[in-house]
Symmetry: C2
Subunit: 407 residues, 2 copies
């Protein structure tokens, strides 16, 4: 029996509330909707949140077309402006110990083509520094879920048949399982095992080797490997995004060296689609940036602030990932990052470092990267080997032939 | 040659920016979109605002379905809650001397049917006290414009043909004129003449007489008659809403007496559709509330606070109104109020009273009504006579046979 799009929307909404953000009785919830095409999902999430005992649900609809009008028409020196009310959403969320659910997906890849890269790079809305701080701070129980749209179905499958897109995405979202909540619990448990294995080895660096890639990523002293199964400071168990297939940690922002070829197109957050991206790092900083398409947009993004050209995340995913197994490039980084191993430049996640000092200067001095951006990019694949390098120089295979081999 | 829906949307957006709010170079603009069906209008207004030199445009989409989920699912004692970030939108708008454009229309009349009236009455979002204060405060240059939708076309004309609905609404919005900006300037000038005439008479009260209506509305000492052509404290000329056909002033909240029959259905702000409403006032307060449909919703609204059952506005419109001449009930109070004379219970407009003290207690003591609500209701029509009562008791006809007769 086919399950209707509406029913699947409700199932994913329920998972986002119960397993993803794990909304607690009496909590407020901030729902950020990244496209007006996600209305049905936004409403289903709202209803599910109240059903779970939420007190008040703030639903904020972001409209990329409004951003486009700004990039095309606003005075150049105004583009870095962020209104106070926007930051107040985030600070109120933290003050009230609220939950947060972001509905993501189908960011209309071509919408920002033709926009001047410097102008686009100056405007960080909607993913403002305050939002990244919230996501990284460990105070708010949050999740990010996609919402399949007709446009995404058309782009990936050639027709606007959203039901077929749900068929493709069902396994990675685990919504068609008999007991999706239980399936997610088991999945998160197995990712946590991987993180524990890597923690036990306490690697000094991770090495990526493949066509156009010879990259060594130093690991920050004291950083833990984590999965998407994140526990907030207040002890709430969450799943940071759905799908999630990664284990990740924080690089030492001063110890990243070598060349890397990005193996899938990257949709810049709120911006352009970048293809064939190649980076060279020296002493932690990206010093060469080339691409077949939209290299300028990456250059502008990396020029945003001091930390934007340094890494804030490194993540390992093997070929068993149901995202990777679709063989599709979703063009949406929050899905695609789960297809294969990846890095992110920009802000690091504070919750990966248990003893991180609160002071940003001290964080910076330790090699913890600070920035107003956070941009994932996929660097793994069938031809890319991932190796752990121990403090004594020993090399331990982690991924070979796209399979997880460390145990 | 037929003008396309897209072109008309752009024309109305341009009028909203240039004539309605009269956005000034360098201003920020707060665009409040009252339904997700108004996306095209919201985007056109945004582009027009940047074209007019706006610095930053905040577009806030309100989703009535999200409100419905709250009314159905949130804890009862939480329904009066308004998040800080929402009030911050308004306070930031005032602090930065921003403009504001609200896109209104087709509020899905049946959506809130079946919702418990007490619960609905407790939740004032999105038209919160802070918003009413902004609209009444004279600091922000603002306007309210409708956005025709397929649903509205279906409801009014029997088919979802939005082009036909634009045909109907063209004359009242003056968008099809050769020079719409000039047409609006002339129209506002003629409404201002009417206001001046009434000011010269300095009536003590207005009397409405018709079937089921015998209502005397005392006029607040010192209150001016105004049209939709409003000048802010900073001297910016605006048109408060489009369409606008009224001249209006502020009643003395203690001197309203008699019975009144509301002559058209009333869509409560953010709530239910009320039909056949009859009210009896005593010493300014509505003491009897009956209706053929949804009287309870009015009772709950009028119980919201002390001022909710007292009048904050009285307005005179004659039968020449192009809104009235359509013969349609739009089911949208901001259009329908321009079809005929009307009253509003709840908050009064401070800008009608030049010497109003700032202190709310002093305002209250003068008979200026304070409330968190403002609800218009139509009481005029072909059978309703409107008469001015001078301080010496002289009676001067204002409307006879639905025509403006005072001159």
């Amino acid at each position: 029996m086919a399950v209707s799009v509406e029913e699947r929307t409700q199932k994913l909404a329920r998972l986002a509330v119960r397993v993803g953000a794990n909304v607690q009785e009496g909590q407020d919830v901030f729902v950020l909707v990244m496209d007006l095409q996600h209305t049905a999902m936004a409403r289903a999430v709202t209803a599910s949140a109240y059903e779970a005992g939420a007190r008040f649900v703030s639903v904020v609809y972001w409209d990329p077309h409004v951003k486009l009008a700004r990039l095309q028409g606003a005075p150049g020196d105004s583009l870095a402006f962020i209104p106070d009310w926007w930051d107040r959403i985030v600070s109120e969320c933290i003050e009230r110990k609220s939950a947060s659910i972001t509905i993501w997906g189908d960011p209309q890849p071509d919408l920002f083509d033709g926009v001047d890269a410097d102008r686009a790079g100056a405007d960080q809305m909607p993913m403002t520094p305050s939002i990244w701080e919230m996501l990284g701070g460990g105070e708010v129980n949050w999740t990010v879920v996609p919402a399949p749209t007709p446009g995404m179905a058309k782009r990936l499958l050639g027709s606007e048949d959203v039901a077929r897109l749900w068929d493709v995405m069902g396994p990675m979202l685990r919504i068609d399982d008999d007991d999706p909540e239980r399936s997610w619990q088991q999945h998160i448990a197995s990712l946590r095992e991987r993180a524990t294995l890597l923690d036990e080895r306490a690697f000094d660096a991770i090495h990526f080797a493949g066509p156009g890639t010879d990259l060594t990523v130093g690991i920050l002293e004291g950083a833990k490997w984590l999965s998407g199964g994140i526990v907030t400071k207040t002890g709430i168990e969450t799943v940071a995004n759905m799908p999630t297939e990664e284990v990740f940690t924080t690089p030492d922002a001063r110890r990243v060296d070598g060349t890397v070829t990005v193996t899938k197109p990257v949709q810049l957050i709120g911006g352009a689609l970048v293809e064939g991206l190649r980076l060279r790092f020296e002493g932690g900083r990206a010093v060469e940036i080339d691409a077949d398409r939209n290299a300028d947009a990456v250059r502008a993004q990396m020029a945003f602030d001091d930390g934007a050209a340094r890494l804030g995340e490194v993540a390992i995913v093997d070929g068993a990932s149901p995202v990777g197994q679709t063989g599709l490039v979703f063009g949406d980084v929050l899905i695609d990052e789960n297809a294969t191993s990846h890095i992110a430049w920009g802000h690091a996640y504070a919750f990966t470092v248990p003893d991180l000092p609160d002071d940003e200067k001290e964080q910076d001095a330790l090699g913890f990267n600070l920035s107003g951006v956070h941009q994932d990019a996929m660097i793994g694949g069938p031809e890319v080997e991932v190796t752990g390098i121990a403090k004594n120089g020993d090399r331990v295979p982690i991924i070979r032939d796209d399979a997880w081999v460390i145990g």
